[in-house]
């Protein structure tokens, strides 16, 4: 797919995510925006799936370990025709149509297993997603399917011990069809990652756990406009291609990103981890994104 088209899709994702969080007055915008390009690259370039059969076992899978990034995740799934538009209205809202304990037909605040919608995991507690993905990747090998399993993890999530249990196990089982993408935006709920507990070094940790590491971390204060490869489609495409070619071990792609990327007002601000915008903010930001979309459409035509 043309990079200009992907850029426009990432813009659309940001608009939809903004609407989801604004309308629900609840949700996680910052970590959805940092992952926008990664999600679009996955759904529109890397993952093979039949959108008419979201529950097909042959579809590639994305497991959202950073389960709070549902605004971005659901937006990507909607853009990829895996979720119908009317379902977006149900985000974080009670299901009035099912009996207590019955199957839900609403989009949960954090993803819940719903294979009919292409959601093969239940996350929200950091680190369980990558662990589930390792189990799923083992199931794929057992069944002899060619499915690839992708996992989107966060830097804050790497503070969970279970993530390193999963890392060790994935390498031990040589799960080369498992690719983890780190959305390294250096912000978490309370504060910056390095002010919460230090995470560095990142690449060396994963290397020492037996993983193929693609890209490397750039410390927060050393980043500049050119180092933000997690928002760079060209770089991401190459990274995923490399990951697919690796044999005998799992791969992790380290994407350097900006929390809240796309709306200057909330960029690199841990306070925008889980905060809904006011009406004023919503309208202002939507206008910014819409103006960007117009410009992107113009560049697509040129």
């Amino acid at each position: 797919m043309d990079i200009r088209e992907k850029k426009r899709l990432a813009n659309r994702l940001r608009q939809i995510a903004l609407r989801l969080v604004y309308e629900a007055q609840s949700g996680h915008l910052g970590g959805s925006y940092s992952a926008a390009e990664i999600l679009i690259e996955l759904y529109f370039e890397q993952m093979r799936f039949n959108s008419k059969r979201p529950d097909s076992l042959d579809n590639d899978i994305l497991v959202l370990d950073k389960g709070h990034a549902t605004p971005g995740f659901y937006a990507a799934q909607y853009l990829a025709d895996l979720l119908p538009e009317e379902l977006l209205k149900t985000y974080r809202r009670i299901d009035q149509n099912t009996t207590t304990g019955g199957p839900l037909n609403t989009l949960q605040g954090h993803p819940k297993f719903w294979p009919q919608r292409g959601i093969w995991f239940s996350t929200g507690s950091l680190g369980v997603g990558i662990s589930q993905a390792v189990g799923t990747a083992i199931a794929e090998k057992m069944a002899g399917r060619q499915t690839r399993v992708y996992v989107l993890v966060s830097d804050g999530g790497m503070q969970e011990g279970i993530m390193w249990e999963a890392a060790r196990n994935a390498a031990y089982h040589k799960l080369d069809h498992l690719t983890v993408v780190l959305d390294l935006n250096w912000c978490q709920n309370d504060d910056f990652v390095f002010k919460t507990t230090e995470l560095l070094p990142v690449a060396d940790k994963w290397k020492s756990f037996g993983w193929e590491v693609i890209g490397s971390e750039i410390a927060y204060h050393e980043r500049d406009g050119t180092s933000l490869n997690g928002h760079d489609f060209e770089w991401l495409s190459h990274a995923f291609q490399r990951a697919k070619a690796i044999q005998g071990k799992p791969a992790i792609i380290i994407g350097n990103t900006v929390k809240g990327r796309g709306i200057a007002e909330i960029e690199n601000d841990p306070d925008w981890h889980a905060k809904p915008p006011t009406r004023e903010q919503y309208e202002k930001w939507l206008a910014i994104l819409q103006a960007e979309e117009t410009a992107l459409r113009a560049s697509e035509r040129s």
Partner: protein, 346 residues
């Protein structure tokens, strides 16, 4: 259901316990797993305790995933000492239609509780979970290995069945019978070889309590390893001119409402006995069942009130009041209390 035992089989004329045939319930589980493996599709996850949980035979027969000679067809998955990971990975397998059997010590399962809840319970998957080495009877390893909260933890997970068999024969049957149950099945086993209670004519029925000794006025309810001690206590109580009934609840949760309601008709005092905290375990399961009956009944719960210590299982049961003498004393005290007229409330 009734499975009435001849107490003379277990105690001599003076009321002392006879030497019993003892077998490891873990072996029964391991054997049942191998039997099931031949016809059922599932995988077993282990966390460096396969010699202890007796899943080694399954591992040998059905192979280790990724290893020669089974490779991708291997059905035993090594997780290393990573219980939290194991419990979450089980959910990832179940999501793709592969039924997981999670195995480790009861205490270490507790570390995997939240990942299990997130990855298996919330999405509503089927899983069989073995917690071996439950209770203070685990013995010399001390309180770090003696789970006394596990039954309570699993009982609170929606759509979960908790089973705690009393001997070898029952463990084997219970494993086979409960395997197909939907939701989570938690089986709690003891470390020690347990005295044989059930003979070849016994049939385990999931969810059913078993009246082992008929009686009236007092009903003892026990589960797992304590059922044998309760049996010996009943013999002692009979010598004290009491006529206690003994009900064994291998399915602790959900408790057998019918059997307990029936017993409540001619019972003034229930005494529950478990190698577990008296809060949230068997005792509370019985209380919940009795709260559904018309008549309120007095319930005394015997359990482990505090973290115990290293020691031989029999010594620990004696010190913490879970052996036949301890149970007898507590029942007698409760009976004495009951006969004393209640103080008038002003």
């Amino acid at each position: 259901m009734k499975y009435l035992l001849d107490l003379n089989q277990f105690v001599d004329a003076s009321g002392r316990s006879k030497p019993a045939e003892r077998r490891y319930v873990r072996d029964a589980f391991g054997e049942a797993l191998v039997e099931l493996g031949a016809t059922r599709d599932f995988v077993v996850l282990g966390a460096d305790l396969d010699k202890s949980t007796k899943t080694l035979r399954f591992r040998e027969k059905f192979g280790e995933f990724g290893k020669d000679p089974f490779y991708e067809r291997g059905r035993w998955i090594s997780c290393g000492v990573s219980e939290a990971f194991m419990c979450a990975a089980a959910g990832g397998l179940a999501a793709r239609g592969v039924k997981p059997v999670i195995t480790t010590f009861a205490r270490f399962l507790e570390r995997g509780y939240e990942p299990l809840l997130q990855s298996v319970a919330i999405p509503g998957f089927d899983a069989f979970v073995l917690g071996s080495h439950g209770g203070i009877a685990t013995g010399q390893d001390g309180s770090s290995a003696q789970a006394i909260e596990d039954i309570a933890l699993f009982r609170t997970l929606p759509n979960t069945t908790v089973i705690c068999p009393a001997d070898y024969a029952e463990t084997k049957q219970a494993t086979l019978a409960a395997f197909e149950r939907s939701g989570i099945v938690y089986m709690r086993l003891s470390r020690n070889p347990l005295a044989d209670i059930f003979a070849g004519n016994y049939t385990f029925r999931l969810g059913e309590g078993i009246e082992l000794v008929p009686g009236k006025g007092i009903t003892l309810v026990s589960t797992g390893e304590t059922t044998y001690q309760a049996l010996l206590a009943v013999a002692k109580l009979k010598k004290q001119r009491l006529n206690p009934r003994l009900i064994h609840l291998p399915t602790v949760h959900p408790p057998d409402q019918v059997t307990l309601s029936e017993a409540a008709r001619d019972t003034e005092l229930f005494v529950t006995i478990e190698d577990h905290s008296p809060r949230g375990g068997l005792g509370d399961a019985v209380l919940e069942a009795l709260s559904q009956t018309d008549t309120p009944r007095r319930v005394v719960k015997i359990g482990v009130e505090m973290y115990a210590e290293s020691g031989m299982p029999a010594e620990l049961y004696q010190k913490y009041g879970l052996d036949a003498d301890g149970i007898t004393k507590k029942v007698l005290a409760a009976v004495k209390n009951e006969k004393r007229p209640a103080k008038a409330v002003a």
